[in-house]
């Protein structure tokens, strides 16, 4: 079995983020920090500073879509979810599968002819696009792989980092 299979399957498992609507804010705990990539093989687990992001962004829906019951920002989503109430699960992994392309998931998608959200992102894609996308847009925040999660020893071997600085392939080809 490939070494990184476990990384894919278990990567980026995220602790439940229980951000809820302002009304329910008093009773539902909002985590200050969340450990992401808990079972990462190629990249180490790291702490996501949730509190800092709440402070600087203030808008839950920027990351949590309509799940927290706040105003829906995306006009395409608003067509149906304008008046959607908060969902039971607000964590990323509550909706986004860690194995979006598994034979089981693909078969389920094919069997369900009524399903609308056919293009729902997997967990890894959703998180990376959300983080990197926003960090790029804001012009601050980490965007490099190791800026968030340092590589493990296994990861270093996977990316053949011992070959760093060697002659690139094209130099030989030309």
């Amino acid at each position: 079995m490939s070494s990184y299979k476990h990384f894919i399957v278990a990567a980026l498992s995220i602790g439940a983020i229980s951000v809820s609507s302002p009304a329910a804010l008093q009773c539902a705990p909002v985590p200050d920090s969340i450990t992401l990539n808990q079972n990462g093989k190629l990249f180490s687990p790291f702490t996501f500073n949730h509190a800092q992001h709440i402070q600087s962004i203030k808008e839950c829906a920027d990351c949590h879509h309509h799940t927290t019951g706040t105003l829906v920002l995306d006009p395409n989503c608003a067509r149906c979810h304008q008046n959607s109430s908060p969902t039971a699960v607000v964590s990323c992994k509550g909706c986004h599968s860690a194995t979006p392309f598994s034979p089981e998931n693909l078969a389920a998608k094919r069997a369900d002819k009524q399903r609308y959200h056919l293009d729902k992102m997997g967990l890894k894609g959703a998180m990376h696009q959300s983080c990197i996308g926003c960090h790029n847009k804001m012009g601050n925040g980490p965007t490099g792989c190791q800026d968030c999660h340092p590589r493990t020893k296994e990861g270093a071997a996977f990316y053949s980092t011992n070959r760093k600085g060697a002659k690139p392939a094209h130099a030989e080809e030309e």
Binding site: S2, L106, L118, K164, P168, A169
Partner: protein, 305 residues
């Protein structure tokens, strides 16, 4: 009598071949790939050029160590193509544009009607029902016809081995993953989900839906949907495909269509022409001989008394 039979046979034979050729032509022209074929949709607007797919491919296919590490961005200075040591490579385009660079992953596109397969005279290539174009290195003789035939420059050649010359390319992880319904290694590793794995037919719908939902993000074209008869790998792009190194001059007809008409003539030429020309030759000779013989006979008759 003999000549009449001969001409009749020619006519019947020719018609049969002509009809057979036409039917065959229609059949392959309308072939849209296997219904259960899988594929990968590459959304170049999502790719960040991390080259994780290259690393995953290298490990999955047990390829030799790369010349430089997989996190070395200096490889983007030159446009690369897949080789026998790297079945997939990521290239960078539009670096000077304010919208930022666009990265494009290159590998075998796994055509519905592969030109490599058509060009291979030892039948080393197979298009599986899962959509992968795989090859049998045991029968490959290293002629490299497939490298010339491929419109995407996908097959690489293993020049290092003089005794066992083989062509190498992406096989969609057929042996280790696709066969079991699992996504290829590159798709699984991609952090941005720039690669979407699924049934080819579903991916085409998905791609058009992405364009419909966010038209400002994409040019309205799915590369690989129709190009050279359709490919299992499909691409979405934020700018014209010609700006990202794609060959936009390719026809929607499979490469085989370019040679099909000509190749259809080969059996006719081989089977009919020898018979036709020997017939003509024999008839001509017979006439010549007959005429001459008659003359001789009359001469003999003349000299008989």
């Amino acid at each position: 009598m003999k000549r009449r039979n001969f001409l009749k046979a020619c006519l019947i034979g020719g018609t049969t071949i002509a009809l057979g050729k036409t039917n065959k032509g229609w059949a392959s022209g309308s072939f849209e790939g296997y219904p259960e074929a899988m594929g990968v949709l590459v959304d170049t607007t999502r790719c960040i050029g991390c080259r994780s797919c290259e690393a995953a491919c290298n490990k999955e296919q047990k390829l030799p160590e790369p010349d430089t590490s997989f996190d070395d961005p200096s490889v983007f200075e030159h446009e690369r193509r897949p080789t026998s040591k790297a079945y997939t490579v990521v290239n960078r385009y539009q670096k000077e544009q304010p919208s930022g660079p666009v990265y494009r992953k290159v590998q075998c596109n796994h055509c519905n009607e592969p030109a490599c397969l058509t060009s291979c005279f030892v039948n080393a290539y197979t298009k599986t029902k899962e959509g992968a174009v795989i090859y049998n290195s045991k029968v490959c003789v290293g002629c490299r016809n497939c490298m010339i035939a491929c419109p995407f420059n996908a097959p690489g050649y293993d020049y290092d081995s003089a005794t066992n010359p083989i062509v190498k390319k992406c096989i969609l992880c057929y042996d280790t993953r696709l066969k079991y319904g699992k996504p290829p290694a590159c798709v699984e590793i991609c952090p941005q989900e720039a690669l979407t794995f699924g049934h080819r037919a579903d991916l085409i719908k998905l791609a058009h839906e992405r364009i419909r939902a966010t038209p400002e993000r994409y040019v309205d074209h799915v590369y690989g949907e129709k190009e050279v008869g359709g490919t299992s790998w499909l691409y979405l792009a934020p700018v014209g495909f010609d700006k990202l190194g794609f060959d936009t001059t390719l026809s929607n007809d499979p490469i085989i269509s370019n040679v099909k008409d000509f190749l259809g003539m080969v059996p006719m030429v081989l089977s009919i022409w020898p018979a036709l020309f020997s017939g003509i030759h024999l008839l001509a000779k017979h006439e010549e001989q007959g005429g001459h013989g008659h003359d001789t006979d009359s001469n003999q008759e003349d000299t008989k008394p």
